[in-house]
């Protein structure tokens, strides 16, 4: 029995490796995830450790990514920044998916005025680009790690809820749902046992896509100075700090930029593979 369960659990990951591109994407994401977990143990220097005598060193064996204008090790900073981006973008996405799913399921299934009002409010939030919306909130509540997390969740709840709604609208008129209702099953049972399984494939794809957008959002906020504050090794912030020094220490800009690109591409390929395997277009 234990074995059966294990193989079923493994089977759940099969879509991640369904196509060659998806395999590449998932592997990239996995590598970054490992960096996020083990980064602090592996980083040769502290995130804000400044060795003045080593300032502005180009990449070398001892300093694989070189050092920035303050003598900080760029490799260590990129490595240490991974956890930040996973925690902020990942947790923010997770909260958005959970809340968005709950709201989407409940309001759409119940319908009526609640649904109408909820989704008109969501529409108005969606009318604003996520980055502007995030800047507005952070400008009001001040920049901090928790606020960045909250902002990602708030910005993405409406999007997730809308995706959920599109599936629920379709499913809720199906006979098996009507049957369950007539059997007198409870509301929570109908939502979780009858409807949620149909939503899950769409949700998996949407969640992965949201994650890639969230990475971008965190990096953009860092770059604009509204997100994570210095001297934290946030990738976007690192690019912003290195921008003025581009002719002196270009490597301090290239490596965090490459890290963002690689991770975002990885997550996107993974999402695409998921979509193909689950028969959905992202």
């Amino acid at each position: 029995m234990g074995r059966a369960r294990a193989s079923r659990a493994l089977a759940a990951f099969r879509p991640l490796y369904a196509t060659r591109l998806a395999t590449f994407g998932s592997t990239v994401v996995l590598l970054f995830a490992l960096m996020a977990v083990f980064g602090p143990a592996l980083a040769p220097y502290g995130a804000n450790q400044q060795v003045y005598t080593d300032a502005r060193q180009p990449p070398s064996l001892e300093r694989p990514f070189g050092t920035d204008h303050l003598g900080r090790d760029v490799f260590s900073r990129v490595l240490l920044g991974t956890r930040d981006i996973f925690v902020l973008a990942g947790l923010g996405t997770l909260v958005a998916v959970l809340v968005g799913t709950a709201v989407g399921l409940l309001t759409t299934y119940l319908g009526g005025a609640t649904e109408e009002i909820t989704f008109r409010v969501f529409d108005s939030v969606l009318a604003m680009p996520a980055l502007l919306f995030a800047l507005l909130l952070l400008g009001t509540f001040g920049p901090s790690r928790n606020n960045v997390l909250a902002v990602i969740a708030v910005a993405y709840v409406p999007i997730v809820a809308r995706v959920v709604r599109s599936v629920v609208l379709n499913v809720k008129t199906k006979d098996y749902v009507a049957a369950a209702r007539m059997q007198g099953e409870s509301l929570s049972r109908i939502l979780l046992r009858e409807i949620l399984p149909s939503v899950l494939p769409a949700l998996a794809v949407e969640g992965a896509l949201r994650f890639s957008y969230a990475i971008f959002l965190v990096a953009s906020l860092g770059f604009l100075g509204a997100g994570v504050q210095p001297p934290n090794p946030d990738w976007g912030l690192m690019i912003s700090e290195a921008r003025n020094f581009v002719s002196i220490t270009p490597w301090a800009l290239y490596f965090p930029a490459a890290a963002i690109s690689l991770l975002v591409i990885g997550v996107n390929l993974m999402a695409e593979g998921l979509a193909t395997a689950l028969g959905r277009t992202p």
Binding site: N48, H69, L70, P143, Q229, P231, E241, N244, S247
Partner: protein, 522 residues
Amino acid sequence: MPTPYARASQAAPPSDCSRVPRTLGSALAVTVLVAVTTFLAFAGIAVGQGSTFRVALEPPAQLDPAFASSDAEIAVLNAVYDYLVDVDGDNEIVPRLARSWNVSDDGLTYTFELAEGVSFHDGTPLRAEDVVWTFDRLRDPELELPTSDLYAIIESIEATDDLEVRFTLREVNPFFLYDLSDNHAVVLREGTSDAATAFNGTGPFRVEEYRTGTRMSLSANPEYFMPGKPGVDELELIFFRDQVAAIDALRGRQVDLVLRMPTPLFQSLQGTPGLEAVSVATNAFDLVRLRADRGPGADVRVQQALKLATDRDAIVQVVTFGLAAPGKDSPIGPLYGEYFADDLELPPHDPERARELLTEAGYADGLTLELHTPDTGDRPTLAVVLADQWAQAGITVDVIVHPESVYYGDNLWLEVDLGITGWGSRPVPQFYLDVMLACDAVWNEAHWCDPEFDELVRFTRTTLDEAARVEAYHEMQRILVERGPIIIPYFFPQYGVIADTFDGFELKAFPGRSDLAAIHPR
């Protein structure tokens, strides 16, 4: 440019003959123009003729002289209007609209003779009444202009002749001429009601066209009263929101001058062929201060610990690339000559001693502080460097970077416990003491009040005894090192980069006050 012409003629259908005469005509016109220009140039008539000088500036927000403050705004004022007196590169007062002046023996009456033959751009001649009106407006308490405090010392201003003005003061002010040359104090025509948009000055350039946020086109004022100025026929002020874009425009020769830039950008432009990178030492500084009226800063041992934990040499090297002059925790910098206490020694960098002091002050388990900074200049970098240095003394620093407009606009800089402030360069040091370090100073950001220091500030403000003032300034610097609430790690230079096809540029400590009228083609 042969390529576009060739392409145009190929694209045109063969039957379309209308292009031929037009092309011929313009070719003819160009030939004539070239011939005429060449002739004039050889004849020596066209020196400076047809020359345009283009300056990259930040977009001005406010061009009413009473409110203008940024370098870009002051650069516009300095081109369109004239000051009564000016300050030269050596910090000396020099004539501008006022040709000469004399001060009464009691130091209370200043009489100025205005230059002759000066007229406003609309043609009206300059009269003493214009000067009276200008300064009456700036000092009018009812108008509540930013200058009303500065000029509160003026008892009366009167036109004693067509071109003679007399200022009478309530008390002695040895720096009054510098106050008269304040950035806001350009002379307007009497009764100007739309000071922000009229641009009716006496200055070297006339505004031809102003497109808000984009550019301002100016032409030389042919009747300008200062001989040899302006040195170019046209002045284009082109506004850039992004400093990097301005530098790129300079590299591509779309502008001829960029004023002010972050140190690394300046560093990267040095040695570029065709460009001349100019820097000037100033008394501008970044100041780190800990509020002395509450929290940890109320204990002088904490103040001393922060100073001991700061490695100034390293800061000058990594934050300013070694281009700044080291500071001694006082706003009276080396540029002020004998006012600066050259022989004063700071306690050496000693994080261990800092840790001991913190333990004595009751922070044996370490101290956590929020360090607030505006997002401009080298300040965020300074914050990050301090965070690492102070960590070695057991002080944990959370850096919070604010947009500059918010940090100053919302008065956060006067509120927060620990903050970094950028202070501009002033021709005399008394300004900083009056507005920042006296007990009742309007911008007493450290909320510090030291009776002995306060007494000295009062003394130097009014004494006419120069030797005594030097003495008092030295004593103040000693007090600040011993128990002051501020760290001034460096005095930063200002930078400008100009195309080497132009000459005559002298960068001022306040870059917006650089004289654009003195620039001429090489």
